[in-house]
């Protein structure tokens, strides 16, 4: 005998924070729920949703089913490193989580959905690496969307102490090809002084699913943060990525490799915020578009007053594999300091006939020639990870995608 429990929409059901969570957390979730309800839906006139597909934002069909899984692949860790599922970390290291949990505002358009995430998140990973401790092997977390119309709200919080080092991979996938799912993920990366923090998100959801990912990176003095996003799955994915160069000498790499095909749509918004002098940020987003897929890239570099000697670069490159694709790029700059080196640019191009002819003249079929070139176009940004393990994880996802187009 089975009992059917009517699931209510994620838009209607108030958060049910587990009773073992700290009080501050359940209070926060209630507050976030109120915020979610009061915040307006994005509308057509919003600059941060320009070219965006607002129709994708109707999440009323989704419920919190609880069938989805999270799997952790954690290497052996040096003493002092805390690496726990978020739910456990809330109990055992509540104060530390509290100090860093979702401190920055979502400013690239998804404030409402970030509030929903905050109200609903139950799982994810908390990583804290103390001063001078280095974790060599990547920590891997797999979020597997399971069940029809199920929504998940995975949270990733990574904190590195002074001169610490860590890399973390979030993989997002579906348990089958058909069930529509929704993933609203938030990751907060807090790179302490002189530390090296590398984060990599690999999104391979099925093509009936939707994804919102909001990333906030805070880079301390002389720290180096890398945030990489790979998109090959989902019907629609929206990435909002903010990197704040908070301390002098901070360096941030913001990288992405996306391969939409069919009717997939990826919408990416970025913000490079230079708040201190002698900081450096380098953004490279690459899209390889097939079918009638569509991408939007909108990036802003902001150099605060006093953030002199800033180097900031922003490049979005689109490789149009078919002339039925659409790539929109909106690069932007706002500079309020002196002695600043900034560049921004975007390109959209298809593979030239001469390149194909050249490869074919060596016996390579036109199909393989196109794939080699597309693969090379993506590999170039993946290699910027400068970490063989992470590169392999991303390249494998890319290979899986290329095998289907």
């Amino acid at each position: 005998m089975s009992t059917i429990i009517a699931q209510s929409s994620i838009l209607e059901s108030a958060p049910q924070t587990p009773s073992e969570s700290p009080k501050w957390f359940s209070d926060l979730q209630q507050q976030a729920w109120a915020d979610f309800q009061s915040l307006p839906m994005p509308s057509r006139g919003d600059e941060v949703w320009r070219f965006g597909n607002l129709k994708q934002l109707d999440f009323s069909a989704f419920t919190e089913g609880g069938a989805s899984e999270v799997k952790f692949q954690i290497p052996s860790l040096p003493d002092g490193v805390i690496c726990l599922p978020l739910a456990e970390a809330l109990q055992s290291h509540g104060d530390l989580v509290h100090e860093h949990f979702m401190k920055s505002d979502a400013r690239l358009g998804s404030a409402k959905f970030t509030a929903l995430h905050k109200a609903k998140t139950k799982n994810g990973i908390f990583v804290y690496v103390p001063d001078s401790v280095e974790v060599e092997e990547p920590i891997e977390v797999s979020h597997i969307l399971t069940g029809s119309n199920e929504a998940i709200f995975p949270h990733t919080l990574i904190i590195t102490g002074k001169n610490a080092k860590v890399s973390v991979v979030d993989r997002f996938s579906s348990s089958n090809e058909d069930d529509a799912g929704l993933c609203i993920a938030v990751n907060d990366l807090i790179a302490g002084e002189g530390s090296k923090l590398t984060y990599c998100a690999v999104q391979e959801l099925n093509t009936n699913s939707r994804m919102i990912q909001v990333n906030a990176t805070n880079v301390g003095r002389d720290a180096h943060a890398t945030a990489f996003i790979a998109n090959t799955g989902a019907q629609w994915a929206r990435n909002e990525s903010v990197s704040k160069m908070a301390g002098e000498g901070a360096h941030s790499d913001m990288l992405s490799c996306s391969i939409p095909a069919g009717t997939q749509q990826y919408d990416q918004r970025t913000y490079q915020h230079h708040a201190s002098p002698h900081t450096n940020s380098d953004l490279l987003y690459k899209n390889t578009l097939y079918g009638t897929s569509k991408t939007v890239f909108s990036g802003l570099i902001l150099v605060d007053e006093g953030a002199h000697y800033t180097d900031a670069y922003q490049t979005c490159r689109n490789l149009l594999m078919e002339d039925t694709t659409e790539a929109n790029s909106m690069p932007g700059l706002e500079i309020n300091a002196d002695q600043v080196k900034c560049s921004h640019g975007s390109t959209s191009a298809s593979i030239s006939d001469e390149e194909i002819y050249y490869l074919c003249a060596r016996g390579i079929t036109p199909q393989l020639a196109r794939r080699l070139i597309a693969n090379g176009f993506s590999t170039d940004v993946v290699e910027r990870l400068r970490n063989e393990k992470l590169e392999t994880i991303v390249l494998e996802a890319i290979e899986r995608k290329f095998a289907t187009v």
Partner: protein
Amino acid sequence: MSLVIKDLHASIEETPILKGVNLEIPKGEIHAIMGPNGSGKSTLSKVISGHDDYEVTSGSVTLDGEEILEKDVDERSRDGIFLAFQYPAEVPGVSNANFIRAALQARLPKGEELDAVAYYKNLYSKMDVLEMDRKFTARAVNEGFSGGEKKRNEILQMMMLDPKYCILDETDSGLDIDALKIVAKGVNAMRSPDRGFLIITHYQRLLDYIQPDHVHVMSDGQIVKSGDKSLALELEESGYDFLKEGELANA
């Protein structure tokens, strides 16, 4: 066994360029084609390789008896035609080593994998002949290469793919004397009774280092004169003015 070009006519955007080329390159021989700019030399090489900007209006090209004009570019290459380009394309993102490997893999029967260790051993030994730095394996195909590096890279591919018929389109242009000698060394190392060469050049200079068996002069889309290597020296001294004066010898 030869590459035979018979009464070949080809146009680009309705403009006839080749107007009845006849040429036979038996295996084991090196043929050179010289001629002024615009005479159709490069077009001939592109048409043989199968470039689809050119429309063949009549004639035939047979490789060891088999017609190749209906075949695609990649198929002709696998059949044994190799064209060393005058201006090799740059292919960003694809490493030289992966590119040559893919070209070799394309020649293997389905399901058979290229032996990676043997491949690199072979690649390095050929690169040594051409005095190419190992770093060229990891660099994107021709991207940022100097003119001379691109030409050496063409010869490297030719050596790796082991073709039956090699066409070199102005491989000497843009090469200083040292680079020219290295390229010639690569070509000479490949001379064999099993391979034919067609060398297209403006100048006699390359032919000092690669001795041709036959020299042909092309003008206005036809071979207008043929001879032995002394013809190249003659042309070097007296130029192509004789073409205008109507002193045409029959091909």
